[in-house]
């Protein structure tokens, strides 16, 4: 049994590796941006680059420097100028495109400087220019530029209030896009009438392009009036900085220009493309697992909810495969992705993927069949730890017990990192410079297959 589980664990890691490789910034850009002679193929679009006076690269997000490297590889000296804003420590070697490192998740003055420079570069672009934009997760915090009269601190306060009152992502964005100079399509307005190819690496569930980094090149579905309605709905007007309310009211009155919406001519020359997202990683995992002989299934790339309950559903599927060969027969590989939420009850160390793995370990503990469950953050960082996630099997809990660990205690204190590090069930990939949220794998093998 031991050896067959080791083999199943190795397979799970190979499948994870295939999933993450498929969404690496370089491979994502390469798949979607190709120069053939003088024709730049961006997905289905073909652009004759001899038409353009300049090619300017801009971008923001954790993966944007790595994306820029792939663009440089393709376009090289044809790039005239460029700047991408990345999180501290996320730089890579670039030749033409400059890098600005800035604060994330809390925006800082460096981000503000970067945003100002990006905005002025785009303002300087004209009809003869091609802008290649490289947007990835974190891009919103890394391009912070409050509207006139509002400070960075005031805008952060607004975000905190919206988060606390229970507003959903669309409500939060309706407000935030109307307090910004970059979000909600405003970079498209700045770049107009240049041609823009905006390549996005999605870290949001469902890949809504107006949500990814708050959609700097994407039509805004909300208005100043919507933003005010959100504040009214949650009854948070008294908590808001006065200048914010005033700004939104001026916008509603028409004294400030509305963000560009669907049909606005500033988008006429903008091509928006999601070049990699969670489903890309799921599909790659599916192909790899199929090649390895597994019966496979992608449940969904849009899994959200409380981490342990979501993990419980995955274990229930594993148990059904063992009992009745449904939804698929063993050897089986069930794949899902998305972003779950940890309910914080203790002050231990961990992350949602490690908690997913640890809770699963308790549920599959002692099963006689070979089951391996793995959960990883595709960015290689799960919570405030150096692990990407965890991988567990029916013997994980007994390994823990032998070392004196009570699994439930570690769950109760959200201390999955210390449990899994002791049992040897952490997965460490190092930062991957990409982020399409998390991938969960369930592998089930009938004894006869692997023994």
């Amino acid at each position: 049994m031991l050896r067959s589980i080791q083999r199943l664990r190795r397979h799970a890691l190979e499948i994870m590796d295939a999933a993450i490789s498929a969404v690496a910034p370089e491979s994502a850009v390469k798949r979607n941006l190709r120069l053939k002679k003088n024709i730049l193929c961006a997905g289905e679009h073909e652009l004759d680059i001899t038409r353009f006076r300049r090619i300017v690269v801009v971008g923001a997000g954790k993966a944007s420097a790595a994306m820029a490297r792939a663009v440089e590889h393709e376009l090289g000296d044809r790039i005239s100028d460029g700047l991408v804003v990345v999180k501290y420590g996320h730089s890579v070697d670039l030749k033409k495109v400059r890098i600005k490192e800035a604060g994330h998740p809390v925006p800082d003055i460096e981000g503000l400087k970067g945003a100002e420079e990006v905005l002025s570069m785009l303002d300087g672009c004209g009809e003869g220019d091609l802008v290649i934009s490289l947007i990835s997760g974190g891009g919103s915090a890394l391009l912070p530029m409050p509207a006139n009269g509002i400070s960075l601190e005031e805008k952060q306060k607004v975000s905190r209030i919206l988060l606390a009152c229970g507003a959903d992502i669309h409500e939060m964005n309706a407000v935030r896009k109307h307090l910004s100079k970059t979000k909600g399509g405003l970079l498209a307005r700045a770049a107009y009438p240049a041609t823009v190819v905006n390549l996005m690496l999605s870290d949001v569930v469902g890949d809504d392009i107006d949500v990814i980094a708050s959609g700097p090149f994407v039509p805004d579905r909300s208005t100043f009036a919507d933003a005010l309605k959100v504040i009214e709905r949650y009854n948070i007007e008294q908590d808001m900085p006065e200048v914010v309310i005033k700004h939104l009211e001026m916008g509603t009155d028409g004294a400030i220009e509305e963000t560009p919406g669907l049909g606005d001519p500033v988008f006429d020359r903008v091509v928006n493309m999601v070049i990699a997202s969670n489903i890309t990683a799921c599909r790659a995992a599916l192909e790899k697992a199929k090649d390895m002989g597994y019966n496979t299934l992608v449940l969904s790339s849009m899994i959200e909810g409380n981490t342990v309950d979501v993990a419980g559903v995955h274990v229930a599927i594993a148990r059904e495969i063992i009992r009745s060969s449904m939804p698929v027969e063993a050897p089986a590989c069930i794949i899902s992705g998305g972003e779950t939420t940890v309910v914080v009850r203790g002050d231990g160390l961990g992350g949602r993927n490690q908690e997913f793995a640890l809770y699963s370990a308790g549920l599959i503990s002692g099963l006689e069949d070979d089951v391996v469950i793995a959960s990883l953050g595709t960015d290689g960082t799960d919570g405030p730890t150096d692990a990407a996630g965890g991988i567990v099997d029916p013997l994980t809990e007994s390994r823990g017990r032998k070392r004196g660990l009570d699994l439930n205690h570690y769950l109760d204190t959200n201390d999955s990192y210390h449990y899994l590090s002791t049992t040897g069930d952490l997965v460490k990939t190092g930062p991957t410079l990409t982020n399409v949220m998390d991938i969960h794998l369930v592998l089930v093998a009938s004894g006869s297959y692997l023994k």
Copy 2:
């Protein structure tokens, strides 16, 4: 769109109907118990009934009277005597088998009387007798018989303490089986050396037969020592009635006979059969949906966890079907079953199935594709309501809004019944006299299929 959704809703109800019909006590008994001339076929077992002096029917559980009716239909006058204990109001017309109605979920004196009579009937059975036992959900509370010296009230107090301290079902049963005269295989000991065919309708996740009605005819995996360990583990000794601790200590010391475990000769002539369970209902739903042209999948019949998080995973699968035709292509029917748990936050009216439906309604609200989500208790009763559950579609929330209802408010107050009754999205089947927990359905149709 309206008409195609109506059709999808009708399909969902037909599929649910097929699922519940398959686990009706009558059909479950008929599938598994057949008299051919003088040979009684019980699953794979064949018994020559001319061998037996008497055929005695006993049973306990909400479905047991309906199960007895099917047995009478098959065996008629060959039945010598019988008694089944059912919940108040769960009687049906029987010819040979008597019915005792008793309290559930809180046991009462009528249940105690019923248990005494069942026990004395089994004590009176000898080698020449055949006992047909009919066990279903609720059987544990309906056959309450505390060990000597312990009162019904004291035993209930023990159950409350165990529930409150967070003990799992196996830990609770280790204690309860050692405070009882009927559970943990003790009815098998009473019936010995008679032949026993024990037919069970499972209302527990995973169908562990020692958990169904606390396994009166099933080897007990726990001991008196295990029971004491549970009390020690949760540090609840001081809360327990003194007589309970004393009883368990006497058992550990060998002064009271241990419950019969695996290999005990009292089980030599016992045939235990689960004749219907959640997976039976899931399979029937699968067949029906296939026949109707749907691409189908049973996720698992062992789904547990927080109701809204589990519902969220189901909606995520629906969205993936719409977006990328995974895990299966539309028209799709995804089936799952089990028993989720509602987190009570308000004092509204509802049940886990109605909450499943209502939460889903919020998530699918406004989707342009045809999606229907239904969740039903197979017993026809969801929470303390007259509904079996709910069925929702992308227009449910707008129907609610037109009537002035705020969906999130009804979720926050656990008031799913009143919301769904206003929007016309309750499902009422009336009591079905069976119970294999809940069934969840997700139906997705591409527009072209149904319009």
